[in-house]
Symmetry: C2
Subunit: 189 residues, 2 copies
DNA sequence: GAATCGACCAAAAAACGAATATAGTCGAGA
DNA sequence: TCTCGACTATATTCGTTTTTTGGTCGATTC
């Protein structure tokens, strides 16, 4: 399966640079040093190639996020690790970012599936951390599923397509403040 | 100034329906029962018309939000009133929604200004409520500006262009849960 | 003088048809 | 089995023409 991996690697680079729509199968073939028609021996379609590239990046994202979480001890630090690692990875893995965010890709069924799966995975990850926190007596939460949902929603605000310029150190402070609010709330203790 | 108000009203309807870009000055003139050239006696440009329409809606939004907040007694209820009223109004006032969100309008300087002004107003509104809460001994907050910023960020998650379908009762529950987290946090008290 | 609008203009947008590019197929050859 | 040149239907791009649009100007009316 060396040829197939070679194609995936070439495609990953080109898709990252030019996006799914602007990258041609011919370009992928050339970068993989083969004829275009040969690509179809290994993949059913251009979409199939992209799906496998996105899956590869999803596995990288999952792996790094899991590692970062496992490196921490408190549920608070685990949540922070989840948020920070995820943001860092998404800014590097251009293809999965596209798959999740690019509105021009919305109408592809496989993109819809990838987005639903990603959302589910985020919820499950946060749920697991929250459950541990509750089991350890650190967190007090009555509806873990809904709380996970709310947290993911709040985090989406960090990804919001801000239409005004915000300095990046403000975003970091913002993350820390969001975490502070998440853990302690604003009502006097 | 009756003629000018008539133009604004006609324009508001047409802009709401077709958007700024797709509405022509000729259509506005016809709806206002005058010749196109007469519009330019009252307004400098098409952009000028839109600016005034957006300003009119901003005042409606501001007014309703302020009323809703003043109707409440506790800082918690005031924050909720702010969030709920704002979401309701934005879903009705199509022109200010466009001005704030539509990426095809981004390059107009007056849109940029409107967005910055709106953001500032949101921050100031939340800050005022938080300050009252602190003064009343209900909230305990060390950086009110940053906290306001974080809250607005989290609320942006509710406006996130979700690329997967979410039932609307889930969104309501999500608001309540977000408020619960905002007030009480998740760390055991 | 203020308000109105038909005629006009430059530039932008839309429409159109021809040319080119693209994803995918097929069959011959190694 | 793997490779790829030749091929096809369709999509995209391109250049040109036509139409539309925002805005201006000057004559007319009140």
């Amino acid at each position: 399966m060396e040829k197939k991996e070679n194609i995936i690697e070439s495609a990953q680079k080109l898709f990252s640079r030019f996006g799914f729509l602007k990258t041609t199968v011919d370009e992928i073939a050339k970068a993989a040093r083969m004829g275009k028609a040969s690509i179809y021996h290994y993949f059913k379609s251009k979409e199939d190639i992209f799906r496998e590239v996105v899956e590869k990046e999803r596995q990288i994202l999952s792996g790094k996020t899991r590692e970062a979480i496992e490196r921490e001890n408190t549920p608070q630090d685990k949540i922070k690790a989840f948020i920070v690692t995820r943001m860092e990875c998404l800014s590097e893995l251009a293809n999965i970012y596209d798959a999740l965010k690019n509105e021009y890709l919305e109408h592809y069924a496989f993109i819809e599936k990838a987005r639903a799966a990603n959302f589910r995975e985020e919820i499950e990850t946060v749920k697991a951390i929250l459950q541990d926190g509750v089991n350890d007596g650190v967190f007090e939460i009555y509806d873990i599923e809904l709380t996970s949902f709310a947290i993911i929603t709040a985090l989406k605000g960090l990804e919001y397509p801000w239409t005004i310029e915000i300095p990046s150190h403000e975003i970091e402070k913002n993350i820390d403040k969001l975490l502070d609010i998440l853990f302690n709330g604003i009502v006097k203790r």
